[in-house]
Symmetry: C3
Subunit: 209 residues, 3 copies
Amino acid sequence: MFETATTTLDWLGVIVFTVAGALVASRKEMDFVGFAVLGTVTGVGGGTLRDLLLGVPVFWTQQPAYLLACMLVSCAVFFVAHIPQSRYRHLVRLDAVGLALFAVAGAEKALEAGASALVAIVMGVVTAAFGGLLRDLLGGDRPTILSREIYASAAGAGAATFVVLTILGSPRELALGTGFTVTLLVRAASLRFGWTLPRYRPRGIPYTE
Amino acid sequence: MFETATTTLDWLGVIVFTVAGALVASRKEMDFVGFAVLGTVTGVGGGTLRDLLLGVPVFWTQQPAYLLACMLVSCAVFFVAHIPQSRYRHLVRLDAVGLALFAVAGAEKALEAGASALVAIVMGVVTAAFGGLLRDLLGGDRPTILSREIYASAAGAGAATFVVLTILGSPRELALGTGFTVTLLVRAASLRFGWTLPRYRPRGIPYTE
Amino acid sequence: MFETATTTLDWLGVIVFTVAGALVASRKEMDFVGFAVLGTVTGVGGGTLRDLLLGVPVFWTQQPAYLLACMLVSCAVFFVAHIPQSRYRHLVRLDAVGLALFAVAGAEKALEAGASALVAIVMGVVTAAFGGLLRDLLGGDRPTILSREIYASAAGAGAATFVVLTILGSPRELALGTGFTVTLLVRAASLRFGWTLPRYRPRGIPYTE
């Protein structure tokens, strides 16, 4: 029961993020193992940290099929990554879908484990953003989460939408779908229109004492 | 009872380190979310790793008020970080206070969880140093813990002082205060007088066989 | 009983990896604390992540003697690291031995904790590769695990050999010895003969629709 609740979203998110991680491996021209490591770490990294922080069993240690899927998907990407013309654009889109899937899946699993609303939202962001952070660190790229793009806040908006709707008694499918859509739209709009959040700017106000 | 013992020190340490993390975000001219991420990770990172390693529930999953405080403090820093004239000097001082707070708080929580003396000292160092390490890694700075400065060893000295005094039967307040003071003094002296530990130097002794 | 099963291999692996970590500290001309941090993190890092993922108590929190050994060994390296003529070659060899020890020790501990075959193999790779990954990240080197060398796959081959032999009912010593030997030989051959795995190469096949 507990398992079925999050399984479908977790599966989709894991596969989407695995493809995104393996595409980074293809851009770095890594070998098989590099594909498998980057793909798997990206795919299961966020959910792993979520489970550790919540103190529940790490999901893939109970269900090794996740690991098998990550490895098979990474290998498949090894052979077909040359087909799309613009790998980078696909990567960014896949990453946005994975972000939206994991934002609601992470928040839901946290609520099921008894976490409070704020912790559930943070777990949505952690689940959504940590896999990509590991991918960026291992791949030697600057973490997207700290870039000027709207990334973690898109995940937070979707997770918060899901948590608020759930607390208000919304049906599960509606809450999940709305949260997913919010994250995806915010992230897509940020990419499409170059939306950014206001940045801190040093101000040269001199002391006048 | 268990909670009250460490709560005050944990709160102070979390807030001080959150400010330090958010000041780094201000130096990098990040946006709101960057402030919240860097501030929160720096504030709760050390305690999170300590709790995971000790196998006890991660403190902020039980008490979401910590997360809320980290976010509010980070936002506050966003608006007032331009006021002090030398942010870098404040950052270094705050970091020293946070280091001293977490060194004794981490060691105490480890002792309460039943850890041995050596593990408690290491947990003091982990709690004190890991938040700052994450801040350095995410902010793209060289880890202070591996610099030539006296940093982890200051935390270790304070944690060891606290653990030894506790084992000798010292009142809790005296042990905490002394350990805190030792870390703070060692770190301050290191900064003030440029103290360093002896470094390894390659020696050119040729083989004569 | 559970403890004695893995203790010897764990001890050997921890000491070998601690020496390797401390040798990196000597190449970076760090101080005492840098040696202790890099040596200890390299020595216990892989087993720590394995235990966290498996949900069992982290081994060194139960047996602080590991920590003590890491610190003493790191200090010893501080004083004798100048003696060998080629520290780098020793480091690479030690690393290969530690990789082989931890690949089978990690897989065995996972099987004892009730993990499935695939999870046990992955735990062997995690235990073997994570300490070195932390060492590379903290030391500012490029992660070996993502280099073109055969590293994680050597650990995977040995861990898989051990797991398959164990499932087939082989005596424990035979399974451990064979798995250890497979990892060591594959890694040594990779270093000696420059073996690599096929890398992904971008292909310039234009679309012809």
